[in-house]
Symmetry: C3
Subunit: 423 residues, 3 copies
């Protein structure tokens, strides 16, 4: 009873992250594309829900083989949870460890799938066709995300190998990041971002108020994301995870702010917010497995990484308007690897899985193999999917539409029209 309540309340918090992603992304982009960005972030969860309901959840958690699940379509498979004094009987064996009703399991997993999809939105912002993004969402949430998710959380081959990703640094964030990277490469940079003389043009976002609000919404949502991933109201574990999650975020805020201050001369506020998100992404995999002091160190490093990564991607002319790659992809990898470096059996979640680095569970090797295998698959599928979408539907808006803004050409509606004086 308490478990279901906890799982649903934390799922609501994670759902709320949709608002955060929309605010951060639109705030860091220009006013002329704002309606388009907000619309993408609003409908993405609807498309995710349909795709994950019909096929995604079955592929990810249904019984099948070590590559993918093959049972339980339409969340309609047999399931006897909450189990009453019996062994598990059903087709979602990989979720038999949590005693909440099947629909609560589904809903909780759905909000995670939606998060992966919304990460992509930031990468391809300010130049992609609305319809092309929608189609990609269906492919990602219905097929690609569930397959790699199955490998780690669905009893697949990486789980068997001992890879551990508590709340999804790789399963959710890096997968979203790899999918977005493929989109960026197929789309190319925004007009004017990289000048012919080699200099990089900073394109400032239109509202720091939206960035602020979005950053705090995401931070709040992460208290659902990580502590909720216990999928049970175990007091010691959830208090520990809330603590490590918050401390990593706070440490990353301080390190990213100072790093930006030193490197760029000013305490760049967008770096502060991306620093917070970087710390949160990095602690997502190890939050239950590491000590409080380790969480501070993981966050501190995440805050440094994100600033360097933003500079790196710009040097490589990979145009990521909101820094989503630096936050979700790079720090998703860092967090996953950090499990192999910092996990201890003393932590609440660490004890459950046995000794970590000693016993090969969550070993650095397993974490590295998982990081790169998932990356290769997610990037590969996404690259193919984007290429097919480009060939059939088209991918990028016309240059004049990009210049004038997608709100005009794609949406037919400005975000901030001047008051119409009625007469």
């Amino acid at each position: 009873m308490v478990d279901t309540l906890w799982v649903l309340m934390t799922a609501f918090l994670v759902f709320w992250m949709n608002a955060g992603f929309g605010c951060v992304e639109s705030g860091l982009c220009r006013a002329k594309n704002t309606t388009n960005i907000l619309a993408k972030n609003f409908v993405v969860f609807a498309f995710s829900a349909i795709a994950y309901w019909i096929v995604g959840f079955a592929i990810m958690f249904g019984d099948g083989n070590s590559f993918m699940g093959l049972a339980g379509w339409l969340v309609g498979g047999a399931d006897n949870s909450p189990a009453i004094g019996d062994t598990y009987q059903g087709v979602y064996s990989s979720l038999n460890w949590t005693g909440v009703p099947l629909l609560a399991k589904f809903f909780f997993q759905l909000v995670f799938a939606g998060t992966a999809a919304t990460i992509v939105s930031g990468c391809v912002a300010e130049r992609i066709h609305y319809k092309s993004f929608m189609v990609f969402t269906l492919i990602l949430v219905g097929l690609s995300y569930p397959i790699t998710g199955h490998w780690i959380w669905g009893g697949g081959w990486l789980a068997a190998m001992g890879m551990r990703d508590f709340a999804g640094s790789t399963v959710v964030h890096a997968v979203g990041g790899w999918s977005g990277l493929a989109g960026i490469l197929v789309l190319g940079p925004r007009i004017g971002k990289y000048k012919s003389d080699g200099t990089v043009q900073t394109i400032p976002g239109h509202s720091m108020a939206l960035v602020f609000l979005g950053g705090l919404i995401l931070w709040l949502g992460w208290f659902g994301f990580n502590p909720g991933s216990t999928m049970a109201a175990d007091p010691g574990a959830i208090a520990h995870v809330a603590m490590t999650t918050n401390l990593a975020c706070c440490a990353a805020i301080i390190s990213s702010t100072l790093m930006a201050w030193i490197l760029l001369g000013k305490p760049d506020f967008s770096m502060t917010v991306n620093g917070a998100l970087a710390g949160l992404v990095a602690i997502t995999a190890p939050c239950a497995y590491v000590s409080i002091m380790s969480s501070a160190i993981i966050g501190l490093i995440a805050g440094l990484i994100v600033v360097l990564a933003v500079i790196f991607f710009d040097k490589r002319k990979i145009d990521d308007p909101v820094g989503a790659l630096s936050v979700h992809l790079v720090n998703g990898m860092w967090g996953t690897i950090a499990v192999g470096l910092f996990a201890t059996a003393d932590a609440p979640g660490g004890g459950a899985d046995g000794l970590f680095n000693g016993g090969g569970i969550g070993s650095l090797t397993a974490q590295l193999v998982g990081t790169f295998a998932v990356g290769a698959f997610a990037f590969g599928v996404a690259f193919i999917a984007w290429s097919i979408i480009k060939a059939i539907l088209g991918m990028r808006v016309d240059p004049e539409d990009e210049m004038r803004g997608l709100d005009h050409s794609e949406m037919g509606m400005e975000a901030y029209p001047v008051d119409l004086t009625a007469e």
Copy 2:
């Protein structure tokens, strides 16, 4: 213990919908009326709380007759909940099925009453006197809303007839909508909305960012609205209701977006958000009584209805600035009727009430009678109330004040003043 926690946490989510209504309404209206709209949405809950505390709750849930409650004023009547091994002893018999403390029952019901009042705000936006809206709120929440609420939730004549409205498609949304429709008819359309040559002038809202944020706040709040209406932490029921609520919303987003795209030529973002709200309103009555597949169908239809309803009201020159009638009134009716069409005894809430369409509980007849009886009463009382307010206080601001904006005349404060350069 868990029940109280669930009821209060979900009540907090519903309370949060006040922010959502304020954001959506102000975002879909013009900047020059924004302070006025936000102020209405802020104070409406204060007036609702006072009116519902003193008289509303007693009329709705107090013991009395089949028309209205007549006991328990000031939430001060006898009550022995949470009951400990005894039969219920108190004057709020219609709420004896939930074991939480009386004040938790009151607070949960209060946030629903506040929702009905805030729906009205959208209908009368951009032309009503601030004070007139406040007075109407007191009448609605203190008298009209509780009476029709008593009929259905308070053990009144519609409950006896077998009408079922799980979380308030009729009790809350349609009642708010009917009250707003009466206000629109008494007020008339905004200046410039309907031209003398018969054409309709679109008056664009001033901030899609507020609309986006408001839409997601409301969607989040609905996870309190519907699952919380169990008023008990029954794992199976709340997981089911969370699932149907979300799926109806997602289906409605897709159908409303595509419908607008086809009919209007662009994927109108305000239609997307109103589609989401339409799906949520429609699933509010049947969420606990219908299958998952039915919830998708109910939502799909709601998304189509809302687009057609917006067009319909404009044709009839009924000026509803934010589409509140199309969302709350029309889809409140649709959702209530959908109980009669889709309810099954298999659903968690369906089983509790016995066989549905077979046993006459929630039958199509009962749902239709309830829909129209409540509509006639709510509209009638509201029309009389608005007319009296118009005669005594005045209803509509002067034309020059409407042109210049209510923020100037009514509030003395612009929403977005240009920075004052201190000197």
Copy 3:
């Protein structure tokens, strides 16, 4: 299990208040300082978390003497909570009454400490150096706040004397207010606020939408702040506290709105929002100890006080850009004193502590001594701290930077840049 869930969920709500403070403060200030204000409100929690983790929590709740705690640094002291059938064994004896894990206690207390720090931000807005605010936050949360907190909540001398402050009208709000007042006095008023001819220049805020949103976020957060301070899921107590908290807020909204309408000629929306916050601050100390009717009276008075206080501070040329002193300091004092006037043993929290005014617990004398002793200490430490910061780091930005806006000089980033037309 339920207790931990309740404590964490309510802590998340209180954490969310950071967003509310940032929105209200930036909304009531000018666009040219918005990035700076938002950044302050974003990083303040990171600095608070580090300071409170390392030293603050130990000073506030660690075993020590009646002046301060001296054990349990880095939240690393011995603790056997949740206790299992034993007496308490550990160094945080003053928190032995709640059975949740130590990290849950810490996290809940941390979000309160962060609130005190963020109150200061509003007082010193639009003229302080970014770095100077950060340093002050470390001193406040690491040293000053925990010491006075120890006196009341940590088993110190005021607790022994019988002073009662349920959720922190004094511990959190007045302490934040006194610290901010010291900052205002050291900083001086903003350029242009008080003219040489003695008139007061109103400097309007740049976004009522942010004020609205922030006000509702804070109201929502208070449902964590007060009901969560039970730190246990006692159904009767939390329902009572939710009720008194909400009713005080609603009463204050009405009284502040009417008061502003009468005194200023218009229903000033910023007064309405500050009225809501005033009511919430005032009910924070007495929420568990007073009757429902008393809560309405306390709120009603708070709404009147806040309007008068805003006028008073302006007369004294104490430039408080957002009204934080009128809300947090003045009503923090009022709420603390109200315990001595209205507390009854019948209330859920009142019974736990024994008879109130009869038994000397929460007596008017104790409340008054606590109010002024804490005020003197908090103000004194803050004044010294600000003075040292001023001498070493500098406190106030250059006049030309203040005129141009802190976003330019301090942050290097405008909040709302005009779209860059790429070419």
